[in-house]
């Protein structure tokens, strides 16, 4: 039954991003027939998707459609969930993420993640950003590295005079940008963002969105969001997930994946249209 959802047309990334450099078309994640279940419950089934370098890919869809499950497969965070089973294949730059002998710790070092709820460590602002580099042994020029990460996260000017203050004294939006700074301080290749702005006010949200546009130049970004306007504002490509229910089971499926403008103005699938026009979800 997954056949009917398979997305045949190859997306011309160069056209979408108005950039014709060949490297921009590189596929970072190549996902084949991905099915994830927790115990007996299937979260997503039969997902085929390609994620491209230096592009922002948004994952949208109603609650419970498996958006978070999907993104957490990309850096093997689901390994931590007891009973999680992953089938199918995820190729990261050509190599299988779930092959035996692949170290999830190394994957997570190269594929960073920012979570729905800002989760700074109960330490100083500086120590939060320096934590990853210290653990990974990147101790050379730590001050510069911390400053660069905070600048990239558009937080430097707000915190440069109080780096020794506890990170929990920051506002919610600042904490989330600190978490982004912490993630990019270890220089990952990809940044996964799981509803990074869902707990933030509109001003903080817009700061995060501006930041994503800047980060796109250096990183490949994947963002899960339940906020369609946010996807429309930040993403180059958008994947719409939906919850498919039949008599025996319910699971998340990928309905449509295309250029963001096409998803929001001229979707090919009826379900996508219902969702983006607000008739459902």
């Amino acid at each position: 039954m997954t056949e009917s959802f398979t997305i045949a047309p190859v997306i011309d990334v160069a056209q979408v991003t108005q950039d014709s450099r060949p490297s921009e078309r590189e596929v970072v994640f190549d996902i084949h027939d991905l099915t994830v279940s927790y115990g007996r419950v299937t979260a997503i089934s039969g997902v085929d998707l390609q994620i491209h370098r230096n592009v922002i890919t948004a994952i949208i869809g109603p609650s419970g459609c498996g958006k978070s499950t999907f993104i957490r497969c990309l850096n093997r965070m689901n390994d931590l969930v007891p009973g999680a089973r992953i089938e199918g294949q995820i190729l990261y730059q050509g190599s299988d993420l779930y092959a035996s002998g692949v170290d999830p710790v190394e994957i997570r070092r190269r594929i960073g993640m920012v979570f729905q709820k800002a989760n700074p460590f109960p330490k100083s602002i500086y120590d939060n950003v320096a934590w990853g580099p210290r653990v990974l042994g990147m101790r050379k020029e730590l001050d510069e590295r911390v400053e660069k990460a905070l600048r990239s996260a558009a937080l430097w000017d707000e915190v440069k005079d109080r780096l020794k203050k506890n990170a929990l004294s920051l506002s919610g939006g600042q904490q989330q940008r600190l978490c982004i700074a912490r993630a990019i301080a270890v220089e990952p290749e990809v940044l996964l963002l799981d509803e990074p702005a869902s707990a933030l006010d509109p001003i903080a949200t817009s700061a995060i969105e501006d930041l994503m546009h800047q980060l796109k130049r250096e990183y490949t970004l994947v963002i899960v969001t339940h906020n369609m306007q946010q996807a429309a504002r930040v993403a180059d490509l958008t994947a719409f997930f939906s919850l498919e229910v039949d008599e025996t089971r319910r699971s998340g499926v990928l309905v449509e994946y295309d250029a963001t403008s096409k998803i929001f103005t001229n979707p090919s699938d009826k379900r996508t249209e219902d969702y983006v026009t607000g008739r459902f979800g």
């Binding site: 989760n119 460590f121 109960p122 934590w131 653990v135 929990l168 978490c179």
Partner: protein, 322 residues
């Protein structure tokens, strides 16, 4: 949206019975809480009063005096303060890393099935009556330490004055310290497990998502976030060790020696009181034993207060929980 007129008056209808329940609930709980306060006060007052004659005779110098001679009526607390301090500290030094390791294993590493089983076994250890533990100390642990552990420590680490000549009997400070270790470990381990479980899982995920290994996550996030709670748990364990009488009395041997080696017999404040009170010959000896009790009481209260202050003032996780 006009207001709906109420047909029944708003005055209480279940006047008597309802109010009676409220009142008696309030009164009973208040009385129970006050009873604790009164009891602590009464005990402290009585002990201080009975220690009075000894305090009048020896003053504060009692605390630093080394002699305990019922024949000459000369008494001092120093040997017992030394015994208490050494046995408790050695017990803490052994118990703390062990208990933290058990707590970490049970909260972070153990497979789900194992957690429950090992967790209840650890708590079962705390349920062994101390007099039974003391018997086991006399029959098994003491001889084992005396014939195997102490000679080995002496021959390999004998250059450290702590590890002097082994004892023949197995009765001594070191045996008492090991018995205390067994009593403290379950307490500190179960508190640490709760503390580690209380670290928000999004902090752990945040660390792992940066490419940290489990050990780096534990060392860099979990332990720093729980250090004040662990310190408080250790001090609670210390309180337990300082106050334990029966099991210590059974294995410590008795004596007033003060020296470097951990192995010879000694006494703690608690074991001295437990072993000598029944046979105390003179009023001044009894009073001096109560003076020891007063010192013990103060030490226990201080340990408890420190633990409470640490928990309230220095919790690094303050603000991360909803």
């Amino acid at each position: 949206m006009s207001a709906v007129p109420t047909t029944s008056p708003l005055q209480a209808r279940r006047r008597l019975r309802g109010r009676l329940g409220d009142l008696s609930l309030h009164g009973l709980t208040l009385a129970a809480a006050l009873a604790c306060l009164v009891l602590v006060g009464a005990i402290a007052w009585k002990i201080v009063a009975l220690a009075g004659p000894s305090f009048d005779r020896f003053g504060l110098g009692f605390v630093t005096a080394r002699a305990w001679d019922p024949v000459k009526h000369v008494f001092g607390a120093l040997p017992f303060i030394y015994g208490t301090a050494v046995s408790s500290l050695v017990a803490l030094v052994i118990a703390t890393p062990l208990a933290i390791a058990i707590g970490l294993y049970l909260s972070e590493l153990a497979p789900r099935g194992v957690r429950g089983i090992v967790g209840s076994l650890v708590e079962l250890l705390a349920a062994i009556p101390s007099v039974v533990l003391g018997l086991w100390g006399i029959l098994v642990l003491g001889p084992f330490l005396a014939h195997h552990v102490e000679p080995w420590l002496h021959s390999t680490l004998g250059f450290i004055p702590l590890f002097g000549d082994p004892q023949q009997t197995g009765q001594g400070l070191f045996t008492a310290a090991v018995i205390l270790t067994i009593m403290i470990v379950p307490i500190v381990a179960s508190i640490s497990r709760e503390l580690f479980l209380g670290v928000p899982s999004d902090l752990e995920e945040g660390a792992l998502a940066l490419g940290a290994t489990r050990w780096e996550m534990v060392r860099g996030v979990i332990l720093p976030a729980t250090r004040s709670g662990i310190a408080a748990a250790v001090i609670l364990g210390l309180g337990r060790a300082v106050g334990e009488a029966i099991a210590v009395t059974q294995v410590i041997g008795g004596g007033t020696r003060i020296g470097w080696s951990l192995f010879p017999p000694a006494d703690t404040l608690a074991s001295k009181i437990a072993s000598s009170y029944q046979g105390a010959g003179s009023g001044i000896e009894t009073s001096s034993l109560l003076y020891l009790a007063a010192i013990l009481l103060v030490l226990g209260l201080i340990a408890n207060l420190i633990a409470q202050v640490i928990v309230r003032r220095f919790d690094p996780l303050r603000g991360t929980r909803e």
